[in-house]
């Protein structure tokens, strides 16, 4: 009973079965492969929804490594990453956290939006990101050495305005940094068409909408429409909705709550559809 429950809690490590669709826009695949080979950690920078997570999934598949993804949030402590003691029967049982599990298995550990996590988590990842490549587990007095296959990948969105959400130099200078952005228009249209099955012309129009909204960044919108939102809109269109209705729901409403700004985004959508 306890065993079962613990196993359910333990981080599942599996390699991806099918190849995830990822459209490369530059040298990122080669860079990532080289970093993996040379055991260097990687930092992915870029706005939300531009394909960072998909890229990591794709690379994990390509390198044949299991992938452990942790979505960071402001309550995420180092124990959530490293592991903790749980009660089992008469004794306490140690349960590896996702990071420890990934290190032991030589997996790729992806900390999504790493700046969201509490500050103490960075202390844990520092020794993993330099030549030591170890994970100290204080509570167990254990030092886990990372096998060559282990790789740490973190992402963050430099577009955040808040000074609290900045990555410290002492952390960022440990990583190979890959810049992500929305792909060029033709590629982005291909991606949307490929992901959703809508035809190329419609996909190109969705990309046009996205470009128009991206021009509004800082003028009422914090961010323009991401590729992910275009894919959402494409799915709605593929499900039979009119393009304008689909775009208003998937793009216009998703971008913000201010009615005036929404009206402007709707104006832009209706300029295209």
């Amino acid at each position: 009973m306890t065993e079962l429950r613990l196993r359910a809690l333990a981080t599942e490590l599996e390699t991806l079965a099918a190849e995830p669709f990822y459209q490369a826009t530059g040298d990122e695949v080669a860079l990532f492969q080289a970093a993996h080979k040379k055991r260097l950690p990687v930092l992915l920078k870029g706005p939300t929804g531009c394909g960072k997570t998909r890229f990591v999934e794709y690379m994990a598949w390509k390198l044949g490594r299991p992938l452990v993804t942790v979505a960071c949030h402001d309550d995420l402590t180092s124990a959530d990453l490293v592991g903790r003691y749980l009660l089992a029967g008469e004794e306490t049982v140690w349960l590896d956290g996702p990071l420890t599990a990934a290190v032991r298995a030589g997996a790729i550990c992806y900390l999504d939006e790493v700046v969201e996590a509490r500050k103490d988590t960075t202390v844990v990842i520092h020794p993993l990101t330099d030549s030591r490549r170890v994970l100290p587990i204080e509570k167990r007095g254990e030092l886990v050495r990372a096998p060559d296959d282990f790789m740490l990948v973190v992402s963050y969105n430099p577009g955040y305005q808040s000074v609290l959400k900045e990555l410290k130099q002492s952390t960022r200078q440990r990583f190979i940094a890959l810049d992500f952005n929305y792909p060029p228009a033709t590629l982005e249209a291909e991606i949307v068409a490929r992901e959703t099955g809508i035809d190329a012309a419609l996909a190109a129009q969705l990309v046009k909408v996205a470009e128009l909204t991206r021009n509004l960044k800082g003028q009422g919108l914090d961010e323009g429409a991401s590729t992910r939102l275009l894919v959402h809109a494409g799915h709605l269109i593929a499900a039979g909705l009119a393009p304008r209705v689909a775009s208003e729901a998937a793009i216009g409403r998703a971008l913000g709550d201010d009615p005036d700004v929404q009206a402007s985004v709707d104006d832009l959508i209706s300029a295209v559809f």
């Binding site: 749980l86 009660l87 009206a263 104006d267 300029a271």
Partner: protein, 696 residues
């Protein structure tokens, strides 16, 4: 909104007589007797009106006269006509719109607004739409289309045009219904954006139009032809706009059909429009559903400046890239190439055969240059030396192009009589207090030694204390109580809680406080002395905490000079510089409170703290040079500014020294909390305590 009595009792009886009217008009225009005007015209007009309309006219004339006498006169003269078409509520808006026009562009446009009752009637009836009502929405629409900053402003004479940085559109639009008017506005905005986007001004107008004796006629026709070409261009790129774009040119006579078809070709350029010109130049200009103009002289001026600026930005971007690649700027060996993509919207840079991504500002500059020139000029491809040119930040992006901007910030002001804001009315200037007597602070410290020690002890208690969090899922220590309980639970067959640990946590206060100190002339002497001592006490106490705090002084002389004096920034330590600035705080001019509150609220909002606090120290009611701000106006504006701060998430607290304890305080400081000190000498003793209570 101020209302006026709308009596329904016997109007004939209560109607004001000529003598009464003269008396009332004397009160409104009393300071204008020297102009030689007499009120006979006005009395004739007013005498015929029923009492509610008389009251309306007199009330709003008095409001308007405080802005400009001429507008006051006109309000009375035109009220009978206005009230034939408008309800009282609408007529209020009619006056307010005129006063806004005065604030924005002077008495002439206010008079125009007032006289255009017909136009306002249509607006009120919902047929016409004012540009003002959709300005923000339309500006974002343009920004979305354009990618480079493209401002929106009302056109003075209702003639739409663009200088390629600002699109000027008619102040109101009548198209039968509100939605049709909005569509028309969007189409006009898109058309003028397209003039820049599809190269209308890439033609050399001086050469192209030199052969036509009637330059205006030629420009008029070129405008029509370009409208034909550009509506087709926009329709292709933005299919959703096609219908409303075609509406713009649908009514053109059949003689233009050949030109229409020719110019709708995807590869048509401004040259094709110019080629059509000789065939049409002698015909009268066909009517269009809007009035528009091409102003190539203005465009050329604006464009030249922008091309120069963007060229420099691109050069710097390229220089930066070359440096990153380890290449020298003057290196003849380096091959630089730039290719423009098929849509003509972005450029790809190649350095020695290697494709390089331009940084965002370089990309935007390249895009802007392509829109202006259809190519990247060769001089933009010579990398700039470091620091050759620095772009100047343009302030006040929301300001119309006609307004001169020198101030550090422009802030709105609340006019209670109108029940509306005067937009960007006050000019805020930022200064830094010079450093004064270095011996001042140590002297105050010595004088108040025991008190400071006492205050510091009290503040120490405020510090975020370590706290033991029990029953945590995780922690460095075992929570024995929880463990015992869990074991007992388990023995008893119950599910034990897994939360068996304890951890220490330090509470963060996360507080940012901004102190605003009155430096008006009335603080001279004792009050200034007390303010300075109070600041010393406060700083000494605050140093015990981790709270971030800033100190600003304020003074002013009319709306065009609202001065803010920096004493301590949030980031600055409480060091000798700050101490010497405190010593140098001196009494200056007047107390216009709204602008400093509004501006510093924005400063506070930039602080990442969870709690934001604005504390003002002043010596009484707001006041400024001239009659306007004194009295009710200033009180209402200050109240409104405090309300805005509260809505934005800034808590405010006002400390005031007003021995008379006047009754306006409760109203003015209503949105904030406040305290009145009857004796200024108590201020240094009280201030730290006030802060402690506010924040614990």
């Amino acid at each position: 909104m101020t209302s006026f009595p709308r009596s329904s009792d016997s109007e004939e009886q209560s109607r004001l007589t000529s003598d009464e009217l003269r008396q009332r008009l004397d009160q409104i225009f009393y300071f204008d007797v020297s102009s030689g005007r007499n009120y006979d015209d006005l009395i004739d007009v007013l005498a015929l009106l029923p009492r509610p309309k008389q009251d309306f006219a007199l009330h709003w004339a008095s409001v308007a006269a405080q802005t400009h006498l001429e507008i006051g006169y006109l309000v009375i003269l035109l009220t009978p006509q206005a009230l034939r078409h408008l309800s009282f509520k609408q007529a209020e808006q009619w006056v307010i719109a005129a006063l806004d026009a005065y604030d924005g562009s002077g008495v002439r446009s206010a008079v125009e607004r007032l006289r255009n009752i017909e136009g306002f009637t249509q607006g009120a009836a919902g047929q016409a739409m004012s540009l003002e009502s959709i300005e923000g929405r339309l500006a974002r629409f343009l920004q979305g289309l354009s990618g480079r900053p493209l401002r929106l402003a009302p056109a003075r004479e209702g003639v739409a045009w663009t200088d390629t940085e600002t699109v000027f559109l008619p102040p109101s639009q009548d198209a039968g219904s509100a939605s049709a008017a909005l569509e028309r506005y969007k189409a006009l905005a898109a058309l003028h954006w397209a003039q820049g986007r599809y190269g209308t001004f890439q033609a050399d107008f001086d050469v192209a139009l030199a052969t036509y004796p009637e330059r205006n006629q030629a420009l008029g026709w070129l405008g029509v032809l370009e409208a034909l070409r550009l509506t087709a261009c926009v329709g292709r790129e933005l299919p959703g706009l096609r219908v409303s774009m075609e509406d713009l040119v649908a009514a053109l006579p059949p003689q233009l059909d050949a030109a229409r078809a020719d110019l709708a070709r995807p590869d048509a350029t401004v040259q094709d429009s110019l080629d059509w010109l000789p065939r049409l130049i002698h015909s009268p200009l066909p009517p269009l559903p809007w009035r528009g103009e091409l102003r190539p002289e203005v465009v050329a001026r604006v464009r030249a400046g922008r091309i120069n600026e963007q060229t420099q930005i691109l050069r710097r971007a390229i220089a930066g890239l070359m440096a990153a690649l380890g290449k020298q700027g003057g290196d003849v060996e380096t091959a630089l190439e730039i290719a423009i993509d098929a849509a003509g919207l972005s450029a790809e840079l190649t350095i020695d055969g290697q494709v390089v991504a331009l940084p965002p500002e370089g990309k935007a500059a390249a895009q802007s240059l392509i829109q202006d020139l259809a190519e990247i000029p060769p001089e933009a491809m010579t990398p700039a030396g470091p620091g050759a040119w620095k772009p100047v930040d343009k302030a006040g992006s929301g300001v119309t192009a006609t307004m001169e901007i020198k101030a550090d910030a422009l802030v709105d002001e609340w006019d209670f009589r109108r029940g509306a804001y005067r937009r960007q009315w006050c000019h805020v200037y930022l200064h830094t207090v010079p450093e004064g007597d270095a011996a001042y602070v140590p002297e105050v410290r010595r004088r108040h030694g025991p008190l400071i020690r006492q205050v510091r002890r009290r503040f120490e208690a405020l510090r975020g204390e370590d706290r033991m969090l029990r029953r945590q899922a995780d922690g460095p220590e075992v929570d024995l109580d929880a463990l015992v309980e869990a074991i007992a639970d388990r023995r008893g067959g119950a599910e034990p809680s897994p939360r068996l640990f304890a951890r220490r946590q330090r509470d963060e206060r996360s507080l940012a406080a901004l102190f605003l100190v009155d430096m008006s002339g009335s603080t001279k002497g004792w009050i200034n002395e007390a303010e300075r001592e109070a600041l010393v006490m406060l700083c000494e106490a605050l140093e015990m905490l981790d709270d971030r705090y800033a100190i600003w002084g304020f003074s002013g002389w009319t709306r065009t000079r609202c001065d803010l004096y920096r004493i301590k920034d949030f980031d600055a330590p409480y060091d000798a510089t700050v101490q010497q600035r405190i010593a140098a705080i001196e009494a200056k001019d007047y107390t216009r409170m709204g602008p400093p509150i509004r501006h510093l609220t924005q400063e506070l909002l930039k602080e990442p703290a969870k709690h934001r606090l604005l504390v003002s120290l002043s010596d009484g009611r707001p006041d400024d040079f001239g009659d306007e701000y004194r009295g009710q106006y200033g009180i209402e504006d200050t109240r409104q500014a405090l309300l805005e701060a509260r809505q934005a998430g800034v808590r405010s607290f006002c400390v005031t020294i007003d021995r008379h304890g006047a009754d306006y305080l409760r109203h003015m400081y209503g949105p904030a909390a406040y305290t009145v000190l009857d004796d200024v000498r108590k201020l240094p003793l009280k201030i730290a305590d006030i802060y402690r209570k506010l924040t614990s």
